[in-house]
Amino acid sequence: MAMALRLYLLLIVFVSSAIVSFSLYEDQVGLMDWHQRYIGKVKHAVFHTQKTGRKRVIVSTEENVVASLDLRHGEIFWRHVLGTKDAIDGVDIALGKYVITLSSEGSMLRAWNLPDGQMVWETSLHSAQHSKSLLSVPVNLKFDKDYSILVFGGGYLHAVSPIDGELLWKKDFTAEGFEVQRVLQPLESSIVYVLGFLHSSEAIVYQIDSKSGEVVAEKSKAFPGRFSGEISAVSNDKVVVLDSTRSILVTISFVDGEISFQKTLISSLVEDSGEAEILSPLLSNMLAVKVNKRTIFVRVGDQGKLEMVDSLSDETAMSDSLPVADDQVAFASVHHEGSKIHLTVKLVDDLDTVLLRESIQMDQHRGRVDRVFINNYIKTDRSNGFRALIVMEDHSLLLLQQGAIVWSREEGLASVTDVTTAELPVEKDGVSVAKVEHTLVDWLKGHILKLKGSLLLASPEDVVAIQEMRMKSSGRSKLTRDHNGFRKLFIALTRAGKLFALHTGDGRIVWSTLLNSPACARPSGISLYQWQVPHHHAMDENPSVLVVGRCGSDSSSPGVLSFVDVYTGKEISSSDIGHSVVQVMPLPLFTDSTEQRLHLIADTDGHVHLYPKTPEALGIFQREFQNVYWYNVEGDDGIIRGHGMKSSCAGETADEYCFTTRELWTVVFPSESEKIISTLTRKPNEVVHTQAKVSTDQDVLYKYVSRNLLFVATVSPKGAGEIGSVTPEESALVVYLIDTVTGRILHRLSHQGCQGPVHAVFSENWVVYHYFNLRAHKYEVTVVEIYDQSRAENKNVWKLVLGKHNLTAPISSYSRPEMFTKSQSYFFPQSVKTIAVTSTAKGITSKQLLIGTIGDQILALDKRFVDPRRTLNPSQAEKEEGIIPLTDSLPIIPQSYITHSLKVEGLRGIVTAPAKLESTTHVFAYGVDLFYTRLAPSKTYDSLTDDFSYALLLITIVALVAAIYITWALSEKKELSEKWR
């Protein structure tokens, strides 16, 4: 047995050492991988629908993406993902050909070419302080080039030429206590009005010459009270402000530079008044105010007089006003009614004139309408038609036109927060798969084509046909489990609290569901766990996932648990658990008779709660009561606390599934020299094949494989900032390995002159982490492997043969295992966003590190490159074992980018999951984009490749058999004739 295994392992080593790099051919792209492009939740949208050219909409999103979408199909024409710190404040179109974006709190102004998205110019604006950032691109229909873009940001007002981005002038508004609220540039006027509040109690209006930037006039008027800061510009000479009591609306008019206030009590507008809130839509001569969960429209009269004209229920989203023909201004509102949404477009001046009223059936799982953007077009009968771009609560983007959804984009998938995997249903006898399976003739035809391809006989048309056939090969997108475990579901939880199930075959959304809760309307999703994975009852029980959510953004707000059936996407149950959720600890080893996994949830009071709340689970938990621990990392204080279970908290509450804990240990990092920047544990579901590591000279090292190890990286508080902000002497990086049961620090390693951010990956008995070396001005990667010294004595072969060893006896952290580490460091030429490691079903296959690089690509790096046993001159035996000679830096082999030519924009995480086939692992990367591929780190040594020609094999066998028969007959004949001679 051991021998067979050894041979097997040797084979693997051979196969893996044959070719170092992983790469694929051009025609293999898309066979195993898929890539989906998203943009994120839309913040602003600007339509560009001129008669000529393609109709498009320019959007900027919360994922810092500026994109141009095709209005007909919703496809992305072009897209730019700005950095995570480069949030977009405003987007507009200038000169009819440039898209102007203002980002980074008003300090970065860029112009993109409208048709193809190339950057035309970029201007960095001076910024002195945090302030609102305002972008004002004058609507100039005459294409007069003699105007400028006004940008307020960082305390300065800048005028920028739209043609080349040249800064024309700037004006300083950084005075103490002065906050600029609005920059208004009336049409056909050379005067720019800048309205600001001084100490929130005095309104100041500057009139600035738009050509030179000179202040023409300055007027101020004190307000008896304070402004709240919420403001709505209703016209070119009036704004409406809410005062700090939120009960008075103040109209500030500054006609000809004279400031006048006019106060209106909200209670005089509506009877049931309360705290008011000015809503964002910009309507001309009107504003929308939210009072007591109702939206009221208030018209601003010529003299600043306010009157209420309409009121709507709360569930209404509104668009900005849009000029339609004949100096009329219209706006759209959307409200829900059952499973339908009603889109209404009305004139602002006359709310009784309804230009459009449409009802559209809407999927319940999209939630409420969040934002509306409208655009008009002239129909053939010269009347106005409207199209509305709506953003739903689940972040999806839909275009409505003529009472139908023209297209929709699932933009929620751009903000995936947690991912887990799930199996597909087992193929049952009753389930018909005949539609997908080919007939024998088709099968044969396909293989003949393939054969032609492999014999280089295929014509170009055949090549296309072959490629097409491979792309939609029969079994790829079936909704049943396959033998190799290649078909799976990735369950993704998004920031909007929506759950998506993506098929690994083609990336389509199998189902999606928006979380609900009886306690609150929309709980925010926190994390995702596998709740029930049936093995014994796989045929008749469906697996389910647990979604832990929270009602509200505060950490003490009550948690919500939701159980979702993986096959159907239906929410099985949802419960309001009545306590807060600070941490969730799955207990993977403990399952009850229905294979539900036990989970512990810790709350803010230091209690832990057991789920599922069944007596059986309680029984299982109580057996292991003394052996369950939990720890929490307090990053701000630099403390890690370990807790043990104490007793049932029956004294305080009647809940028998609640337990109190006692503090067992604390690790306190000195706050003046160390700050926790990263912690990491092993993945709880990782499978480790063996505990022994065999070196070249047949020596055995025993891996220290423990789930209770915590990797902690700390850095000097000074060095916690940006790279390069400190000198090497001031910064040090220290990494620890801490046993989370006893609090024992097993290993400590200090890197002087190094700095974070630290990206690490922890698997089996090793940690690989990436950081910046300030002295070398380079990124470094260090590997630490942990070995158990106390078991190293088990070297007597006879004892091992007879099984007289303690290697499989359960171990306790209290037995104080002696351990030693081996480590090595290398330079790494790239900055890293995230690191993951491949995982396979049995843990036999060698591992690859999956490094998400700064260029949003994923690099597969063999673990053999980060092996502390590497030496400068490995011996022959070491070379045979696959030890690579030591080099100062890790190589980046272009072919080993698993994302090949694609980019996973805004990459945030990489998830790996094993397939059933030992050689293969699923890789799912998420960011703004999604990417999936299947990897075989040691090549597919346990299966034939997809393009293996069965037809060729069959033909060869038939030919050989025929040849045998023919030669046999010939030889018989010859023998006979010999005999007759």
Partner: protein
């Protein structure tokens, strides 16, 4: 009869003549048919026959020794091949090693058959057989040694622990940063 007698080979130790005894002496009395000359082994000199038999036994023994020593050549050949194959595991070295193991084994199995032709009550075959056995065992040992140098024998601790899964842990701990 006569023909049967003539067929009796020189290598026979004894023979029983089942031909009709009553007719044989009488047939001596009468004349042989013309053209027939009677040459019978009984007329051979017994001394020359024994000499012949001794020579034959010697020859057999010699042959048996040759056969017994033949694995030695094989052994040298194998040794050379093994040296050529090197100490890494690949198709060639594995093939050589397995043939080096197979040949002695099959030879040991057929040791009786190999020495069958030299069976004689005058020939002492024990020594050649022992030598043959020893040489083949040597070949087998060489093969096993080769197997060991290739690292295919489970003689190290590593061969017995490499499939042991990591031990279970008694304690279970979880946690981390608080959700925020």
């Amino acid at each position: 009869m006569d023909k049967g007698k003539a067929v009796m080979g020189a290598g026979r130790r004894w023979a029983v003549d089942f031909s009709d005894q009553s007719t044989v002496p009488s047939s001596r009395d009468i004349l042989d048919p013309p053209g027939f000359s009677r040459v019978s082994p009984e007329q051979d000199d017994s001394a020359t026959s024994r000499q012949k038999k001794d020579a034959e036994a010697n020859w057999k023994l010699q042959k048996a020794w040759e056969v017994a020593q033949s694995p030695f050549k094989n052994l040298m050949m194998m040794g050379f091949m093994m040296w050529m194959a090197g100490n890494t595991v690949h198709l060639f070295s594995i093939g050589i090693t397995f043939s080096a193991l197979w040949q002695p084994l099959s030879a040991l199995q057929s040791v009786g058959k190999v020495f069958e032709p030299f069976k004689d009550n005058k020939v002492e075959l024990l020594m050649p057989k022992l030598v043959f056995l020893a040489l083949n065992l040597g070949g087998l040992a060489l093969g096993i040694w080769k197997l060991n140098t290739l690292g295919l024998l489970p003689t190290h601790a590593s061969d017995w622990v490499s499939s042991l899964p990591p031990p279970q842990e008694v304690e279970h701990s979880g946690g981390g940063f608080a959700f925020h």
